[in-house]
C-alpha cells in the first residue's frame, strides 16, 4: 500500500513539474475552465430571470446541482480524463507495453499516471457555487447530508471513471478509438441537467437507460438531491451498488483487453 502511495506521489509530482514547465498552457487552461463556469452561471441566471422553476427545480436548487456537477466533473477531469483519453494512443503506438512491463497493478498505473491540475481548479469552484446556491443557509443541511454528499460525489466520479475507462479500453480491439472525448462531452452534457427532464423523452426510455443501464444521470443529481431535495434511500443504495459493479467490471474488461492486446510493431 505504501509503495502505491509512493508511486501516486511520483505521478502527481511529475504531472505538476510538467504543467509548471508550460506555465502559459496551464494559465490558458485555467482561464478556459473559469470562463466556461462564468458562462454557465450567466446562462442559468438568464433562464431563471424568465421562469421561477424548471420542472420543480428552483434557481438555488439548480445552482447547487451545477456546483455539484462542476465538482464531480472537475475531480474526474483532474484525475482520470487524461488517463482514459491517452489509452487509445498507448494502444495504437504500442506504448502500453511499458505499462505492462511494470511490476504494479496495471489498472492503477493506467488510471493515475497523469493529473490535470488546471481541471482540478473546477472542484473548489464547484464547492463555491454550491455554497453560493445555499446563500449561507448551510445550517439547514445536516452533517449526515454533507457526509452522504461526499460519498455520492466520490461514487459519481468512480461511475464516470469506470464507464470511460471501459470505453477507452475498446481501443485494444478497435485499435483506433478516439471517441473518449466525444463520449465525455455527451456524458457531461446529459448529466448537467435535472434527471427529471429526461422522463418525457421517448416514453422514459432515455431516462431509464441513463439511470438504470449506465447511471450517468445520477452522478451529479443524486449528491445534489441529497442536500437540496429529497432522495429515496434505495436510489443511494442503487448508485453505490452500481458504482461497485461498474468498477469491478472495468477490471474484468481490462483483463479481457490485455488478453487480446497485440502490441504495435516496433
Amino acid at each position: 500500500m505504501s509503495r502505491y502511495l509512493c508511486i501516486l506521489g511520483r505521478f502527481w509530482k511529475n504531472s505538476l513539474l510538467r504543467e509548471m514547465s508550460f506555465r502559459g498552457h496551464f494559465a490558458v487552461n485555467v482561464f478556459g475552465e473559469l470562463l466556461w463556469v462564468v458562462l454557465l452561471l450567466v446562462f442559468i441566471d438568464v433562464i431563471y430571470s424568465r421562469t421561477p422553476d424548471i420542472n420543480g427545480w428552483t434557481e438555488a436548487e439548480y445552482l447547487f446541482l451545477t456546483g455539484t456537477h462542476l465538482l464531480v466533473t472537475g475531480l474526474f477531469e483532474a484525475f482520470f480524463f487524461e488517463n482514459c483519453w491517452r489509452i487509445s494512443g498507448l494502444v495504437r503506438r504500442g506504448d502500453l507495453d511499458f505499462v505492462l512491463l511494470k511490476p504494479a497493478n496495471t489498472q492503477f498505473l493506467l488510471s493515475f499516471q497523469q493529473i490535470s491540475y488546471s481541471s482540478l481548479a473546477n472542484a473548489p469552484v464547484g464547492i463555491g457555487v454550491c455554497l453560493y446556491a445555499l446563500r449561507g443557509d448551510t445550517q439547514g443541511v445536516s452533517a449526515g447530508q454533507w457526509g452522504w454528499f461526499c460519498v455520492l460525489v466520490a461514487a459519481g466520479v468512480v461511475v464516470l471513471y469506470s464507464v470511460l475507462f471501459m470505453f477507452a479500453l475498446t481501443s485494444v480491439w478497435l485499435i483506433r478509438q478516439t471517441g473518449v472525448d466525444h463520449l465525455w462531452f455527451y456524458a457531461v452534457s446529459l448529466a448537467r441537467y435535472p434527471a427529471e427532464i429526461y422522463r418525457r423523452f421517448v416514453g422514459g426510455a432515455l431516462y431509464f437507460s441513463l439511470v438504470f443501464v449506465v447511471p450517468l444521470l445520477l452522478v451529479s443529481n443524486l449528491p445534489a438531491n441529497v442536500v437540496v431535495r429529497t432522495v429515496e434511500p434505495w436510489m443511494v443504495a442503487y448508485l453505490l451498488s452500481a458504482t461497485a459493479v461498474l468498477l469491478s467490471l472495468s477490471g474484468v474488461v481490462l483483463r479481457a483487453a490485455l488478453r487480446s492486446y497485440r502490441s504495435a510493431s516496433s
Binding site: 508511486i7 506521489g9 509530482k13 514547465s21 507495453d97 497485440r262 510493431s265 516496433s266
Partner: protein, 334 residues
C-alpha cells in the same frame, strides 16, 4: 538455476487485408477478409543464465514478437516458455521485477521532464531502496558518461543521449534478464560503441542474461558468442556466429596482388571478380575450389601477395535468408 526455456512457440496473428480502391474499401466495411500470419512458427531454444545471445533475422522474421512473448506483453498461440522459472504472460510482479525490455524505437521516459524524475518514478514502482538506487544510478550514469545530463529535459537530449537514459531506466532495478530490441538503432558509431561497451561490462560484472536483436552486425559480433537466427518465424541457426559462415557461406574471397601489376587474362574462369583495383584483384571463389585455385595462382602467375578470407557476415546472413524458403505461413478467412 533457470534461464530461458522456449518450446514449440507459435504466435499467429489475424490480420485484416485492406484492399485497394474505394469500391473494395466500401465492400470491406461489410465483408472483410483476414489472413492468418504465423509470426513465430514453432521455435524452441534454451538460454543459460548469464549468457549473451544475439537474435538475428530480417524485418518481420519474428524476433520482436518472440521478445514480446518472453516479456509477457503478448500471449503465444501455442507452445510454452519459461524465464527465470516464470511463465511470462502470467505477468507476475515477481517476474516483472527481474527483467527489462528495452526497445530502441520507443521511449518510456517522461518527455518534458529530466530523466532523473523518470528514474525516481522507476524507483517507486520497483520499490528500490534509496541506497541501492543512488549506487546503481551513480554507476550507470558514470559508465555511460551522462552524469551531467540527467537533470536536462528528455526532449532536449540527442537520440544517443536519450537511448543511454533509456538504458539506465531499464537497468535501475538490476534485472537478471535483459531483452534488448535494437538498442543502437539510429545512433552514430560513437554512441553505438558506448552502448556496446556498457552492455559488455554490465553483462560481465552482473552475469545478466541478455537477449539482443540488432540489425547492426557489429553489435552482435562485439557482444554475442551465440546467435539465434530466425526467418519466417522459424529458427534456422542456433550456435556461434562463426558457425554461420562455415555453415552457410558458399564461397571465400581471394585477394591477389600481382607483381607487375598486370592481371592474367581469363580471371573470370577462377571465380566472380568482386573488385579490381590494380595491382589488386578480389575474386569470389567457391569454397571447395579455394585450395586448388590458390595453388594454381601461385604456380602459374607472378603473385606478390595472396589473402584468403571469409565473406562479410552480413553477406552470408543475407544469402542464408535468401536460401531459407518461405513456408506457407499465411491462410485466409472471411
Amino acid at each position: 538455476m533457470s534461464g530461458i526455456k522456449v518450446r514449440h512457440l507459435v504466435k499467429v496473428y489475424r490480420v485484416h487485408e485492406k484492399p485497394h480502391g474505394l469500391r473494395a474499401s466500401v465492400r470491406s466495411l461489410f465483408r472483410r477478409t483476414y489472413k492468418q500470419v504465423r509470426a513465430v512458427d514453432g521455435i524452441s531454444f534454451d538460454i543459460e543464465p548469464g549468457e549473451m545471445v544475439g537474435f538475428l533475422g530480417p524485418n518481420g522474421a519474428g524476433k520482436t514478437t518472440t521478445l514480446k512473448i518472453l516479456s509477457g506483453l503478448i500471449y503465444p498461440t501455442t507452445g510454452t516458455a519459461e524465464v527465470l522459472g516464470f511463465v511470462p504472460w502470467q505477468r507476475r510482479n515477481a517476474y516483472r521485477r527481474q527483467f527489462s525490455l528495452l526497445m530502441g524505437q520507443k521511449n518510456q521516459l517522461w518527455w518534458d521532464l529530466p530523466a532523473s524524475e523518470s528514474f525516481r518514478l522507476h524507483q517507486a514502482i520497483y520499490g528500490i531502496e534509496e541506497r541501492q538506487f543512488a549506487r546503481v544510478c551513480g554507476e550507470l550514469t558514470a559508465l555511460l558518461k551522462v552524469t551531467d545530463l540527467v537533470n536536462q529535459p528528455v526532449r532536449e537530449l540527442s537520440l544517443g543521449e536519450r537511448m543511454k537514459m533509456e538504458l539506465i531506466a531499464a537497468l535501475l532495478h538490476s534485472p537478471r534478464v535483459l531483452f534488448l530490441d535494437e538498442p543502437t538503432i539510429g545512433l552514430d558509431v560513437v554512441a553505438q560503441s558506448n552502448i556496446r561497451r556498457c552492455l559488455r561490462d554490465y553483462n560481465r560484472d552482473n552475469q545478466v542474461t541478455i537477449v539482443l536483436t540488432s540489425h547492426y552486425m557489429r553489435d552482435i559480433e562485439a557482444l554475442c558468442d551465440r546467435v539465434l537466427v530466425i526467418n519466417h518465424g522459424r529458427l534456422i541457426h542456433d550456435g556461434p556466429l562463426s558457425d554461420i559462415v562455415s555453415r552457410f557461406a558458399t564461397s571465400k574471397l581471394l585477394t591477389l596482388r600481382f607483381l607487375d601489376g598486370v592481371w592474367p587474362a581469363g580471371l573470370e574462369s577462377f571465380g566472380e571478380v568482386v573488385t579490381a583495383n590494380p595491382p589488386m584483384v578480389t575474386l569470389r571463389v567457391p569454397r571447395e575450389a579455394i585450395a586448388r585455385t590458390t595453388a594454381q595462382f601461385l604456380q602459374e602467375f607472378d603473385v606478390a601477395d595472396i589473402n584468403v578470407e571469409e565473406p562479410p557476415i552480413e553477406e552470408v546472413i543475407g544469402q542464408m535468408f535468401a536460401a531459407s524458403p518461405a513456408p506457407h505461413n499465411e491462410t485466409r478467412d472471411a
